[in-house]
Symmetry: C2
Amino acid sequence: MSRNSLQSKLAEAQGGVMLFSITPPRRATAPERVKEIAEITVGRLAGLDLDGLILYDIDDESDRNPEERPFPYLPTLDPASFHTDHLGDWDKPVVIYRCVGKYAEPDLRAWLASSAGSDDILTVLVGSSSGTKPVRTSLRRAQQLHREASPALPLGAVVISERHARHGDEHLRMLTKQERGCGFFISQVVYDLNETKNLVSDYFYACRDAGITPRPVIFTLSLCGSPKTLEFLDWLGVEVPPWLATELRESSDPLETSRRECLSIARDLRAFCTRLGMPFGFNVESVSIRKAEIEASTELAREITTLLRS
Amino acid sequence: MSRNSLQSKLAEAQGGVMLFSITPPRRATAPERVKEIAEITVGRLAGLDLDGLILYDIDDESDRNPEERPFPYLPTLDPASFHTDHLGDWDKPVVIYRCVGKYAEPDLRAWLASSAGSDDILTVLVGSSSGTKPVRTSLRRAQQLHREASPALPLGAVVISERHARHGDEHLRMLTKQERGCGFFISQVVYDLNETKNLVSDYFYACRDAGITPRPVIFTLSLCGSPKTLEFLDWLGVEVPPWLATELRESSDPLETSRRECLSIARDLRAFCTRLGMPFGFNVESVSIRKAEIEASTELAREITTLLRS
């Protein structure tokens, strides 16, 4: 029953979860092209031993950073509609992101209620990208709606180790989210291994001290095949250690350099979480829209899956 | 000619240097016991394929940190006297540290002049442990004395990646030291891999931009077999990443945990420097006076030597 293996792994706070994440096509894409993209994507991912697919919900986020966005923001198809309308060939679960600030309460509540009945949908509710942005629904309110309208819908949250490095309380935010019904966590793109290990360590021992079972953390890895992608990672708030940013800029083959580094980070996190007894998994995404990076991401996912299953 | 291999490797800015460092016995030690310690030490190290031995010069350093020193400060024998009087059986070079602030100019000049004639002595001149401490001779003045009295005596300097993390200019300090005659660098104990790689990267590219050959950097590794040693590392200004400090405190076998971590750091630095084309070496020391940690340090040096020579 691979259809339910993701849900049960997460419900039982097990590790070993392998995900791949995609952004739905741009809203302006012609319908026949959307169909084609969906077919290519499912074909590309069918050969991987994934537990599920993440569908991102893209928000403008221009408030995040006054700097110009290295890749332009273009509105994308609704991830749930993309799933329903075009991913019929994908027979494994999907984790649908929701940038809750975009939605009015009744719409979000209706979507949560309708998804609760499905056996192949999970969701991750994401708060606003800055504290000052006006929101239609706050993350806290969205989590309440989940509890009221769809408590059975598996709920996840985002964790950001860069935030932990700055404020030192991300592990406590995780515990709070857990109290509000979150059963798993998905990280922002990881390039700073130290900060990620600090966060996992603090979270693990805070759970131990509170007598709580730690929930799985799924680490997101993403290749960086060009200086432009490096800029975009920076714009997104991902901290690439200075030595590695330099190495990527100097490299004649940054895609290969970042592949080596992503694998090294995955190996290290795997060993670290295994020693701790911390449930974990991986998610591979491509923050870039370049074809070479997307194809290399599929290969990276294959290698990380082998590592995870070994 | 193993007697001269250390000097020529360093003179030619080659890597592959493997050192072990010891602190001379306490000044209060009975002479026959000093002899015995020297014999045991030489016996312990003879089986290792070292390029040389570092003899530390211990300064009080109570100015470094208002906190109580976890291991008491006890005056130790002069490293040069210990070498002359007791290390006759050691037939490889020694790197003699000099905390220059302790010495009056004429004494330092006389020692430098007398050592320049020896073919088995190198020196590392170390500045004061804080900016406010009154010194008899400043580091800058000591480097001038070296140029005047003993320019042929191979001269090294200390590098501290924690200082780079705070001020971001340690690589420029390295270039300045290099202009003043330093031909190699020995790091403080490394536990923060990221910061160390940032420093090496900045130094390497600053050399490239200036058209200068980078000088070898020798990375110091030290085991941490107990919470007390961890405290001492902290007192010395060594930054152990929080996740690792926690793991060491929680470990039922911190000596083994730190051994695994030291080897992992060494492997990573080796791969990183090799990719860059940066000459490097290793130095193993034991900051602790505990027998188990000293013995395990010998084993670590054996493993690191194998790694370096492989």
